[in-house]
């Protein structure tokens, strides 16, 4: 049986959540409320974000108040309730990258892509994020796009990074 429902929110980029698929994920964790974080992660992997309808469905199924599910969904930086871009650009603002000019790089990304840090471009291609130390400080300032690293970046190399995708 396939149930589905349109995701509300109406801010564009809404997906239709396949509730049967969500049920499958819930089952994988034994329908146990202790597995809610894992469920959210799996759902996010599926849709690249956490659709509101999916959160509501998980809470309903587990008998967890929606307010509590929302707490979990907003607590972890790894979970996003907003639709995410195809690629995630992480600009490191850890201590080393910060000192080496990371803030200028992220500002240039904001200008180049016309987004604010934390947001996704209108064409849903990129989500821009700042992170705190990716563990490769020798390459500061570091930019990571999904799995690919760009070291020693400057505002001037931002265009090149964007073009690479």
């Amino acid at each position: 049986m396939t149930q589905s429902s349109a995701c509300c929110g109406g801010k564009g980029g809404d997906v239709t959540v396949d509730l049967a698929k969500v049920d499958g994920i819930i089952d994988k964790y034994g329908r146990d409320r202790a597995g809610i974080l894992g469920m959210f992660q799996d759902i996010q992997r599926e849709y690249r974000y956490l659709p509101k309808d999916a959160v509501a469905h998980v809470c309903r199924t587990l008998g967890v108040p929606l307010a509590k599910g929302y707490e979990v969904a907003t607590f972890f930086k790894a979970l996003s309730l907003k639709p995410r871009g195809k690629y995630t650009i992480q600009v490191c603002l850890g201590t080393a990258c910060h000192l080496k000019g990371g803030p200028n790089v992220i500002e240039q990304f904001e200008r180049e892509l016309s987004v604010k840090t934390g947001d996704t471009t209108a064409d849903k291609k990129f989500t821009l994020e700042s992170v705190n130390c990716l563990g490769a400080c020798a390459l500061a300032p570091l930019v990571r796009v999904d799995e690919k690293d760009f070291g020693k970046t400057t505002p001037g190399t931002v265009k090149k990074v964007v073009k690479a995708f």
């Binding site: 108040p65 307010a67 509590k68 907003t74 607590f75």
Partner: protein
Amino acid sequence: MPKVNLSVDGKKIQADKGAFLLDVCRDNHIPVPSLCHNEALGSDGRCRLCVVEVRRGNRTRMVTSCLFPAAEGVEAITQSANIALVRKTVLELLWARCPESDEIARLARSHGVSDVRYQKDNDKGKCILCNLCIRTCESVVGVSALGLSGKGPVKKVTTPFDEPSETCIGCGACAFVCPTGHIQMWDKEGVRNIWGRKFEMAACAKCGTHFAPLYQLEYISKTSGASMDRLRTCPDCR
């Protein structure tokens, strides 16, 4: 319940083993300030205003009295220069967070804080994140319409997705329990407004006063089995 012997401010006290120090103090009329403790809801350890010093053997440490269990031989002190300093710091930080709150200002001043040296927030309203509203909604009202969202500087009390909550019954218990008056609720022309929702108020069958949201009465009727006829009369006329 096994008893233990302890002392607070030099006064010998017998208390239930494991009872929290704050409750023990209050039972013995020793005042300790607090913001997040509530008699009905118990302790939550959020505000840190209830700190006291505890000596055991030759070790002294600062503890949150609302979560510190009474044990044999504990010597507690509720007033000292150190304690005053911690409480002042807590209140100064809360005041910096909630400059609009008269209640926090009053409390801070009464503890000797005259001014805030930190940068003041302007986006937190009067909320000190004591959690009383959420706990009340969950364990007293039983509808869990409220929760926290986010963490760190953006953490706040809200309804799911910042939208009007479907489970809210409009009872106003959260607004009632809030120590700072952060939660906005107003009744106007027979309608209650709270958390972005509007609730039609029931008029008492006898005196006509709008005394409670109709929806709340229906909820009470459903969960307690009391008849709507009875509930539709306000407590004063019953």
